[in-house]
Amino acid sequence: MKGDTTIGSDVVPSQWSEVISPDDSLLNLKLREVWRYRDLLMLLVRRDFVATYKQTVLGPVWFFLQPVLTTLTFTLIFGRIARLSTDGLPMILFYLSGITLWNYFAECLNRTATVFKDNAAVFGKVYFPRLIVPLSIIVSNLVKLGIQLLLFLIVWGYYIGVGANIHPTGGLFILPLLVIMMGGLGLGFGMIISALTTKYRDLIFLLTFGVQLLMYATPVIYPLSSIGPKYQWLLLANPMTPIIEAFRYGFLGAGTFNGIYLCYSAGCMLLILFLGTVVFNQVERTFVDTV
């Protein structure tokens, strides 16, 4: 029976359209089924927005308020008091760029990591490819990122207008690639953690803490160049580092832009995304029994 242990609408031998069995191939990612449920993905994104911003006084203004307030805080604490280097860039722009990107990654990671816990009620009652939910999280964060990038562009435009010390380079055109890489990393890591947390709950506490620590291990509040060459490799092992540096280089003209580093990030992303999807699909099939 090993031959027809396929689930889903993928190739099934004989006239049966579906076979439900205990074993499932590790590599059966059911992507075709995910495509079939794409309408659900869009509706979940919509639900996300409606749910978050209906009945809040400021509504979508929160999208702007979050990065603005964090930037101001960072400017005050890390810029003015701690006097960390910003590679000679205006502090506001430096922190805003870091925060906007980091928030996207962190949100993707955090929300994907708790996807089983948050959706246990629905998952226990009806089947659809579970991968849809993390994907919808990525998409709705993408929309959020778009709005926040708009804010960044406005501030950026202002600083260019007043003739600040920034020199946009052609590197800014790889922005879409950077966004894909960050989304992929967040999704991949998130799925791996989500699979672990279904059984070992305590990992969730570790997560919030871990993501915060990870931020300090990423050049969000300081530039890579401020770290001595002796330890730079440590920071560069973090696949988020080249992404944020490349973004700053592209838009602001200061930072590290290195094709090899970026390829490393992309490689990490593909590997983690693949691992995450495999693990997620395995856990998805029995997690209902353990929550």
Binding site: S17, S21, L43, R46, F123, V126
Partner: protein, 412 residues
């Protein structure tokens, strides 16, 4: 017949108790066994699922070696007590979780309705929720769009379709949710106890809709319910599950009778009444009646001492423990003096059992001199609903206690 579902020896093992204690070590053991190609070490210690007996293992078979087939267009009922494995079976069929062993093969698109309104969001409008819920259940946006008007109409909420559902009454909420499900068009539909919600009127509408769907469109339905009336109305054939195993399968009325019999006391034990008398026998000619059937009751008493029997009556109690009828036996020449060691055996004929469907407890009233005793809950009988015409009757709880034998003709 064309087989659309074929389940072969499916089993499901659950781990009881706190999840998280020692699981890491169990997981490791299990994983090592798997890598070495051995059987799951924890699968062996499982036993059949019986909640009343405390097992000595942490693992329990919620389903064990279940095999069955379902044909195209069939409406299959699944009956069993709580914990018999009904919900687990539906979960496996709807792919919410996977079996521990065995295989289920399915032909055609399958949709499951284990709950109405899955994924409804209170802040979203009725219309938005129709789309959200519909896509969760496997429809595409386009399919929903083409049926939107019918769905809104079926739910009867046209006026409120653009109001957030948090403002809906609970009845409207359920109606909307069921309406979405009612217009799913899978080849196989799995329905769990969802009819238990909503008012009687709407329930009727739902059962009607399900009948339609299977009869006219040749779609297969798997239906789980504790409501024997609904099962009887809808299902041609049923499965009876007990402790995770398949107990019986066959025509619904037979299966329901088997199921109900499992509730009845097995065998009659002698009942002592004070020190003077014992009930040796109290038996009905059947355990299960259809409302309106005749019944014969045999009663045997024996007296341990000289007794002046001044009263004897059979008592009938319904599930709410209300006494709904008695049969007074004083007029049938049974009262009088009995010697020690003497027995009294009598047969009571009831021309029809008029009760509505349900389980009834039978008791006995005995009066002798100063002693007056109600002995309740001696045996039980089950009364099933009599089918009358095509109209689905109201739920039992709305229908009082008796079925009146009535007729009606239009005179004007």
């Amino acid at each position: 017949m064309d087989i659309v579902i074929k389940a072969e020896q499916i089993s499901k093992l659950y781990r009881l108790g706190e999840v998280g204690t020692g699981t890491l070590s169990h997981d490791l053991n299990r994983w090592i066994a798997k890598v070495r190609g051995k059987e799951d070490p924890f699968a062996k210690v499982g036993e059949t699922n019986d909640r009343t007996r405390k097992g000595n293992s942490d693992y329990v078979w919620a389903l064990k070696d279940l095999s069955f087939e379902v044909g195209r267009g069939e409406v299959l009922g699944i009956i069993g007590r709580n914990g018999a494995g009904k919900s687990t079976l539906l979960k496996l069929l709807s792919k919410v979780t996977k079996p521990t062993a065995g295989q289920i093969r399915i032909r055609g698109r399958i949709a499951s309705l284990l709950e109405v309104g899955t994924g409804f969001h209170p802040e979203m409008t009725g219309r938005e929720n129709i789309f959200l819920n519909g896509t969760i259940l496997g429809m595409t946006k386009r399919e929903i769009k083409s049926k939107l008007d019918e769905i809104i109409d079926f739910a009867g909420i046209a006026r409120y379709v653009d109001t957030p559902v948090k403002r809906y009454s609970s009845g409207m909420h359920v109606r909307l949710a069921f309406a979405v499900a009612a217009f799913l068009e899978p080849e196989i539909l799995i329905v769990d106890e969802v009819l238990a919600v909503g008012d009687a009127e709407f329930q009727k509408k739902c059962v009607g809709r399900m009948k339609d769907v299977s009869a006219n469109d040749g779609r297969t339905i798997l239906f789980v319910s504790h409501d024997m009336t609904a099962i009887n109305q809808l299902c041609h054939r049923s499965l009876l599950l007990e402790g995770g195993e398949l107990k019986a399968t066959g025509p619904t009325s037979d299966i329901i009778a088997t199921y109900q019999r499992s509730f009845l006391n097995s065998g009659f034990n002698e009942v002592r009444v004070d020190s003077f008398c014992a009930i040796n026998r109290l038996v009905f000619n059947s355990d299960v009646y259809t409302s309106g059937d005749p019944a014969t009751i045999t009663l045997a008493l024996s007296f341990m001492q000289e007794t002046n029997l001044s009263g004897l009556a059979l008592l009938f109690y319904n599930e709410l423990n209300q006494r709904i009828a008695i049969i007074d036996l004083r007029n049938f020449g049974i009262i009088g003096k009995y010697d020690a060691g003497q027995t009294l055996t009598c047969q009571v004929e009831v021309s029809e059992v008029p009760f509505i469907e349900g389980t009834y407890n039978i008791g006995l009233y005995i009066e002798s001199g100063q002693v007056r005793k109600d002995i309740t809950d001696i045996i039980r009988i089950v009364v099933n609903e009599r089918k009358q015409g095509d109209i689905i009757p109201y739920l039992a709880r709305y229908r009082g206690v008796l079925n009146l034998n009535a007729n009606c003709k239009v005179v004007l």
